[in-house]
Symmetry: C2
Subunit: 344 residues, 2 copies
């Protein structure tokens, strides 16, 4: 058979998603927002429901050699809740499906579910269903999260306006440095079994990769201060990749400032040890699950006084492109070098 064969890698993750979803049609008036954001939005008599789903595959998204199952369960929930918060919504329910091989015992699964239950309790979310099946190879986890948001308060990636302030919660690059550290220790362990990992004074960055949190507080602050971001996304693939999503969908440009990027001290120290610029970790390191959003400049004062966020730049016209002003006052073009889930 002489059929055309296009490699998936040739399209890349985002190209593939665009390609596969270009034929999607909408049949129900209740579908307010479909594919293309952190979550979809469904209308339900004035209240709106938000739905998001993520799949995690062993050997691709996690390594059981340094990821305890309890943490894996916890993190699997968090990455989904993060998508719901990124819509300015409150998560309310999740479904959890897993494919497992018989190398896992019931006790191992219990640990995994302990992490799931712990995240549900902490974030007030109900586990309402799922599917449990056999895997012929590794562990695969698929979670769908459902949330609710007040009428028309949901925030997409496409509302950023000229002069809006660009803000980010917490700090950036820590999860990536934690990952590099765990990968190094794994390598050492494999070469010299029995040697205990050297993770002293690294607990912050290790926790950021193994046990991330979703930014519930930020959404509560928006509600309390009656601010609705103009655009929002959660940072799973790195700041560069995410701000480019907002700029593309909002049809705007951006100016970020290197000196404004919030970077934790442990991230800086480890970046130095690994001979990586801390800014590179902040721009391209993934899995921070911080929120990146834009707000109207009239809210500058409120934003400046908010301890949960840092203003890192502003929105420009599309013609000006997407740029970072470095500490040396050079203007560099932002590119998406974030983690690409579609690999060969």
């Amino acid at each position: 058979m002489q059929q055309k064969r296009t490699e998936i890698a040739a399209l890349g993750e985002f190209g593939l998603i665009d390609h596969l979803t270009e034929e999607v049609e909408i049949y129900n008036a209740s579908t307010l927002l479909g594919i293309g954001d952190d979550a979809a939005v469904i209308d339900s008599f004035g209240k709106q429901m938000v739905v998001s789903t993520d799949m995690l595959v062993e050997g691709v998204h996690f390594d059981l050699m340094y990821m305890p199952l309890k943490h894996l369960g916890y993190k699997s929930v968090i990455v989904n809740l993060s998508d719901i918060y990124a819509m300015n919504a409150q998560p309310t329910q999740i479904t959890v499906s897993i494919a497992i091989s018989n190398r896992f015992s019931v006790e191992a699964l219990d640990e995994f579910y302990e992490g799931i239950h712990f995240a549900c309790k902490k974030y007030g979310v109900d586990l309402i269903g799922g599917d449990t099946t056999t895997s012929t190879a590794g562990l695969v986890i698929s979670i769908t999260a459902i949330g609710e948001v007040e009428d028309n308060k949901f925030v997409t990636r496409k509302g950023a306006q000229l002069h809006d302030l660009i803000c980010v919660t917490g700090n950036l690059g820590a999860a990536y440095m934690g990952l590099l550290l765990l990968e190094r220790e794994k390598k050492i362990y494999l070469e010299t079994p029995g040697l205990q990992p050297d993770l002293e004074n690294q607990s912050y960055i290790v926790e950021r990769i193994l046990k991330p949190e979703a930014k519930k507080d930020m959404i509560a602050w928006f509600a309390n201060h009656q601010i609705t971001p103009t655009a929002m996304i959660d940072i799973s693939d790195g700041l560069s990749s995410e701000i480019l999503h907002i700029c593309k969908q909002s049809e705007v440009g951006c100016m970020l400032y290197e000196e404004k990027l919030p970077i934790h001290e442990q991230t800086r120290l480890n970046a130095e040890k690994f001979n990586i610029a801390a800014t590179t970790a902040a721009l391209n390191g993934g899995e921070d699950y911080e929120l990146l959003f834009t707000i109207n400049p009239k809210d500058f004062e409120k934003a400046s006084n908010c301890p949960l966020m840092t203003i890192i730049g502003h929105i420009t016209s599309a013609e000006e492109g997407q740029n970072l002003i470095t500490n040396g006052n050079n203007k560099v073009k932002l590119t998406a070098q974030g983690w690409n889930a579609i690999k060969n």
Copy 2:
């Protein structure tokens, strides 16, 4: 480490689900029905939303050797819609997540999504999101379906009452006979490559396994005739297994009649060839995706005149147990020998 190790197989699929979900707590008043039925139910200002999820794993749930990708995409949607109809609800949205290895081309994925889109169109359902990621081994598909149902019209597995009529849509055992046929032809093909499969006059049973349909018409009939079943489930694991679920959750017994079981002529003919009792295929064959439900005896006349269903028995007291009256007038106890998704 001397930790206790319990094999997953020791609990079985349903035992495992019970075990993993016994600690589930509910934090949101909007969660009307959680784990334990075909779908969960979420309240949303008087309208109720129904959510169900299924995971399909290559080598466990499907064999790409005889399952064309387009059919696989179609069937993946159908099995989820079937769960939504089994709640007496209308499916409205789905999310589709897949883990794929690079042995799949973009063209192969297009075929898969063609089936997804075709099912969405036929059933008026919107594809609203998903996740696409790498698999280190086979293809894994996870779909979540969302539906809506009028206030308190949703039907669970636990409402069957003494003397209720037990009904089933369509016919039983056809998908299982189709599977046996395809497995036989695969074996022959592997032993003698090049030999064309002998599927003449078998198109009905082959279609039942490769391209099942969800029972949308039955739900429409209930609405038109103002009948709400007292309990309902879809038949994915075989009639025996499913009626036992209804009996267990409703705390009742049942009496089924072998002579009443609707069995297609092709199913009977092939059962004979394979030296299997057609009744065994009807009772224990899975993947028919017919609906099994109970209705109040006052609706007997309406039910008798409905071309979509067959009355196959009635509900008895729990003490009488779950039984089948054979054509030879023997009473045999029903046991769940349905397909077990958790294998070693």
